[in-house]
Symmetry: C2
């Protein structure tokens, strides 16, 4: 079995900690390990390091190698430019085909938190069995705890029974991020699951689906496949990538494919998509304050998130506020508004304040 970890994101919403040179998955945000180290450690009992592929951009490859010394260097696949998840997954699939013919591949985002890793692995094992048995595309659906508008949704249909101890459903529809009213309907129906962005399938299956639904990408991947291991590999990959459209695997393949399944799961998943999401999963005191590291004096202050490893923070009369301090920047953000951190990054880009990006 192979694992493919997609590590191409920037995670700008963790500014000021996340920077162009250090995106979210390379930061120690959820523990004393970095998020990608957590991700690799989590899958390691299921997949040997030699079979863990990581797809990333050139400027983060060095740091990745430093953080993951037991992943073979040749397993770090470099995309010359980001072209969204369809290309990323396709690239990994042709590598796997080239290496050992065919294999099941577990596709994982690099930057999620999982409360119950044991359950997580048992679900993935079941998904691998289902992917082989059905020759299908298996998704992992998270039972929604609220009508979140920041996630896509998977609509479950009829059951094909239990595989590896897990109920496997056919997917009736795949929905992009809904508005609040629709999200509420989804959750109320009981049929919808959050699309975790984790997928399990055989390399051959997904390449066949790409051939069917994204022929231009499929052609490119064929060219890349021929060049793998040759002196031309890097140049060919660069040329092919440059001309690809940016398409997500959900939009480009999953929404059109027929053989899609979902395993509803519940293993303490959190996409750690924002400072708010991080507060959700952080240890808090009786006042709801999370202070991961550092020394804080909190006077009449509730539901605060304070990250300031090197500086004393004193707060007075503050409710629902996020404070993040780094060497050159300070964020003070109302809780519930941390999606707008992106606006700050956009403003910095517009103002060409590159030192803060």
């Amino acid at each position: 079995m192979h694992a493919v970890i997609m590590a191409g994101g920037r995670g700008t919403r963790f500014w000021p900690r996340s920077r162009e040179k250090k995106p979210k998955h390379l930061l120690d945000i959820t523990s004393d390990k970095t998020i990608i180290q957590e991700t690799v450690d989590r899958i390691r009992p299921l997949v040997d390091p030699e079979n863990i592929l990581i797809v990333t951009g050139a400027k983060h490859a060095r740091e990745l190698r430093l953080q993951l010394p037991d992943i073979p260097e040749s397993n770090i696949l470099i995309e010359p430019v980001g072209r969204n998840t369809a290309a990323c997954i396709g690239l990994a699939a042709v590598h796997i085909m080239k290496r050992i013919g065919d294999d099941v591949m577990i596709v994982l985002p690099s930057d999620h938190a999982i409360g119950n890793p044991k359950k997580f692995r048992s679900v993935l094992k079941a998904a691998a069995l289902a992917a082989k048995k059905q020759d299908g595309l298996v998704t992992i659906g998270i039972r929604p705890s609220m009508p979140h508008t920041g996630f896509g949704y998977l609509e479950g249909g009829s059951s094909i029974g239990k595989i590896g101890g897990e109920e496997v459903l056919r997917v009736r529809s795949i929905r992009e991020k809904p508005k609040a009213t629709l999200a509420a309907k989804f959750v109320k129906s009981g049929r919808f699951y959050w699309n975790s962005g984790m997928f399990v399938w055989k390399a051959s299956t997904i390449l066949e689906e790409i051939r069917r639904h994204l022929p231009a990408l499929s052609d490119g991947l064929g060219t890349i496949s021929d060049a793998l291991g040759t002196a031309l590999e890097k140049r060919v990959v660069a040329r092919i990538y440059r001309r690809q459209a940016s398409v997500s695997i959900d939009y480009g393949v999953m929404e059109k494919a027929k053989n899609v399944f979902v395993i509803p799961a519940d293993f303490g998943w959190n996409d750690v998509g924002s400072w708010d999401a991080l507060w959700d999963i952080s240890a808090k005191d009786s006042q709801g304050n999370a202070v991961p590291g550092g020394f804080a004096l909190l006077e009449d202050t509730n539901n605060a998130f304070v990250y300031s490893p090197s500086k004393l923070v004193a707060m007075i009369g503050m409710k629902n506020v996020i404070v993040v301090e780094t060497q050159d920047a300070l964020l003070v953000c109302k809780k519930g508004r941390s999606q707008d951190v992106k606006k700050i990054v956009d403003a910095l880009e517009a103002a060409k304040k590159i030192q803060y990006l």
Copy 2:
């Protein structure tokens, strides 16, 4: 004419900027000059530097001399311990008597802001005339703009007419900081003024009043007077101060004296007593945000005060908040709550975190 600047305060409410080693008046909080530099510059057109005395503690004398190079070193009077304003003023008075017999002394706190310094000086000039003419204790009363509970109040009585262009009233009563309901009554009556802590009198007049109402202090000042200029001066001052009670000039003298006057004045006075008070007098943008120095990105943020000279500050969705960043500490405080900064300093003292004091 002499000026006496009382520079003994700690100004803990400007933590984290104010520290034991750098109290408020030694900081450049209101402009690019320090507050005491502003205070000296403001009085300079009225009083020559040789006649400006500054009373301070030993640990701040060096920094004071550095900040005020044209004040003669012998004009910086050092109190071995702080004993409140009665002793401070008495010490300055015996110095003046010793120097030139008698003179009018303008007593000023070291740490106030004045919007209209020209008017300020013309009021002080009138006060000096009144002090001489009446042989009295002349106070400066600020017309209250709100029922502030953080100031003492002066109740004006009958007018003795205009002196130097300013109306001079007898003081009917002197009140300590009132509760909110009483403060409201004071303001409504139209008879009450904020006690600015600025006083004008002859040195001989205040020493006579101290003799009458604070005989123990008066005796001590007599002993100090005899020792001034001798090799024993420092030792005598230390001995006398040690045994003095801590008494304010208001409580110890003004509330008991008969010959007390007030000149109602309006020259943009602000005691700069807290970060809130500083926001009041700061330049603000159309959203009510004050950012004195530094670079801030404020998204959907109003009525904020941001001091962070060396770090970019980004704020999202914040209303009425004070952010102050220094090299080792960060304060995030709800506006209206900055009086409680003192609680933080108390907590740091209790926790023996002396590096932050």
